[in-house]
C-alpha cells in the first residue's frame, strides 16, 4: 500500500460532516442581525466621540484618544461585548449555571477561570441575580454574571484588568445598548444592558458598593 492508496482510502472513507440545516438558518439570521453593527472604524469612532459633545469633552476625548487607550482596541472590545450581549439574549445562551443563589454562582466560576469575581444578589434592590456563564472576550475567557432589571438583562463581564489597555470608568452607548466599565483591584468590569443609563449607573453603584474588595 503506497501513499496514494492511503490518500485515496482517506478521501473515500472519511466522513465529511455537513452543517445541520437548523444551524445554517440560525447563522444566516445571526449574520443579518449582527451585520447592522459593522461600521468601519473611521466612520464610527470619530462622530461618536466628537459629534454631540462640547469642546471640553472633545478635548478630554482627544487626550484619551492619544494617551490612554487605542480607540480601536476600546471600540473592538465594546463591539465584542455587545455581540456577546445580543447572543446571550438568544435561546439557551444566557447562562451556563442558572441560580439566584450567589453561593452557587460564585463557586461555579472557581476552577473554570483564573479569577473569582464577587457575586452578590441584589434582588431587594430590583436587580435579581440570574446566573453566570463563561464567554470569550478580548482574547480572554471571561466570567459573565447575569442580572435582571424588570425584563431587561444585564450582563456583567469580568476579567483581569490590563492597566494600560482600555479607558476605564467610561460610559458608552451603541446600537441602543448602554455600557459602563470600571476596575476594582486587578479585575475589570463591563456592564452591558438595554436598561436606561441611569439604571445601569444605579446597578454599578450597587455592585461596587456592596461587594467585598477583591484581593
Amino acid at each position: 500500500m503506497n501513499d496514494d492508496d492511503i490518500k485515496r482510502a482517506i478521501k473515500t472513507h472519511a466522513t465529511r460532516y455537513t452543517a445541520p440545516p437548523e444551524l445554517y438558518d440560525k447563522i444566516a439570521r445571526l449574520t443579518a442581525t449582527e451585520q447592522s453593527t459593522i461600521v468601519p472604524l473611521s466612520k464610527k469612532w470619530l462622530p461618536l466621540k466628537w459629534g454631540s459633545s462640547g469642546a471640553a469633552l472633545a478635548l478630554a476625548a482627544c487626550l484619551a484618544f492619544f494617551m490612554i487607550a487605542s480607540p480601536n482596541e476600546q471600540y473592538l472590545v465594546e463591539q465584542e461585548l455587545i455581540a456577546s450581549h445580543i447572543r446571550s439574549l438568544q435561546d439557551g445562551h444566557l447562562t451556563d449555571v442558572i441560580s439566584t443563589d450567589q453561593h452557587t454562582v460564585k463557586p461555579w466560576f472557581n476552577g473554570r477561570l483564573d479569577v473569582s469575581p464577587p457575586v452578590t444578589d441584589f434582588n431587594a434592590d430590583g436587580f435579581p441575580l440570574i446566573g453566570g456563564r463563561l464567554d470569550y472576550v478580548d482574547h480572554h475567557t471571561v466570567a459573565v454574571i447575569v442580572y435582571r432589571y424588570n425584563k431587561h438583562v444585564i450582563n456583567l463581564f469580568v476579567w483581569p484588568s490590563d492597566q494600560a489597555k482600555f479607558n476605564i470608568e467610561t460610559v458608552a452607548a451603541q446600537q441602543g445598548y448602554n455600557m459602563r466599565n470600571w476596575r476594582d483591584g486587578d479585575l475589570q468590569f463591563w456592564a452591558v444592558s438595554d436598561v436606561n443609563p441611569a439604571k445601569l449607573a444605579e446597578f454599578e453603584g450597587l455592585y461596587r458598593g456592596q461587594t467585598p474588595k477583591t484581593k
Binding site: 500500500m1 501513499d3 492508496d5 492511503i6 490518500k7 482510502a9 482517506i10 478521501k11 472513507h13 472519511a14 466522513t15 465529511r16 460532516y17 455537513t18 452543517a19 445541520p20 444551524l23 445554517y24 440560525k26 447563522i27 444566516a28 445571526l30 449574520t31 443579518a32 449582527e34 451585520q35 447592522s36 459593522i38 461600521v39 468601519p40 472604524l41 473592538l76 463591539q79 465584542e80 455581540a83 447572543r87 463563561l134 470569550y136 475567557t141
Partner: protein
C-alpha cells in the same frame, strides 16, 4: 462601500462554506453540539473581522477562524481525549513513534465495524495537530500553502505532519483491512 453592500458580500462569500466550517469544527471538537457552537461563534467573529478580509480564498480565511475558535474551545474544555506529541519529535519524519494508540482501537471493534467507521476512528485518534492537516488536505482539499497559512506554520511542517499522519493511518488501516478480509 455601504453596509448593505458589505452584508451581501459577507453572506455571498462566507455562508456557502458553512459545511466546510462545520466539518472542520466537528472533526476538531469530536462533538456535533460543540461543533455547532464553534461554527456559530466563528461566523460572529468572521463578521467582526470581515474588514480585515483582503480578498483571496474565502474558505481558507473562514477556516482559519474556525480552526482558532476550535482550538480555543479545546483549550477551555476539559474533555480533550487525545494527548499531543512532544514538539521535539514534530519535524522528525523518521520518528517511529505510533501516533495512533493501539489500545484506543480494540481489535474487536475494528473487525466489526465498516471501513468508514474504521477510517473515522483512525483519524479521530490522531492528535489534533495531525488531525487538522488531514482534514484540511484530504477532505477539504486545500493546498499546502493554504493549510500553512491556516495553521500558521511553514509548508514543510504541514508536509511532514501530513506524512506522519498518513503513515500512522496507513499502518492501522492495513491491519484492520487484513482483519476484515480474513474474517
Amino acid at each position: 462601500m455601504g453596509e448593505g453592500h458589505d452584508q451581501h458580500r459577507f453572506n455571498a462569500l462566507m455562508l456557502p462554506h458553512m459545511d466546510a466550517a462545520y466539518n472542520l469544527a466537528r472533526w476538531l471538537t469530536n462533538s456535533p453540539d460543540d461543533a455547532s457552537d464553534v461554527v456559530q461563534e466563528s461566523y460572529l467573529r468572521a463578521i467582526r473581522f470581515f474588514s480585515s478580509y483582503r480578498g483571496g480564498v474565502a474558505r481558507a480565511w473562514l477556516l482559519t477562524i474556525v480552526r482558532n475558535t476550535s482550538l480555543n474551545w479545546l483549550a477551555q474544555n476539559r474533555n480533550q481525549k487525545t494527548v499531543p506529541l512532544p514538539d521535539a519529535s514534530d519535524e522528525d519524519d523518521n520518528a517511529n513513534q505510533a501516533l495512533v494508540d493501539d489500545k484506543a482501537d480494540p481489535e474487536f471493534d475494528l473487525i466489526q465495524k465498516q471501513a468508514a467507521a474504521t477510517m473515522d476512528q483512525l483519524i479521530e485518534a490522531l492528535p489534533v495537530k495531525y488531525r487538522e492537516v488531514v482534514i484540511l488536505r484530504e477532505i477539504e482539499e486545500l493546498s499546502y500553502k493554504e493549510i500553512a497559512e491556516i495553521i500558521d506554520m511553514p509548508i514543510g511542517t504541514v508536509m511532514s505532519r501530513l506524512a506522519r499522519a498518513r503513515k500512522a493511518i496507513q499502518q492501522h488501516w492495513q491491519e484492520s483491512a487484513e482483519r476484515r478480509i480474513s474474517k
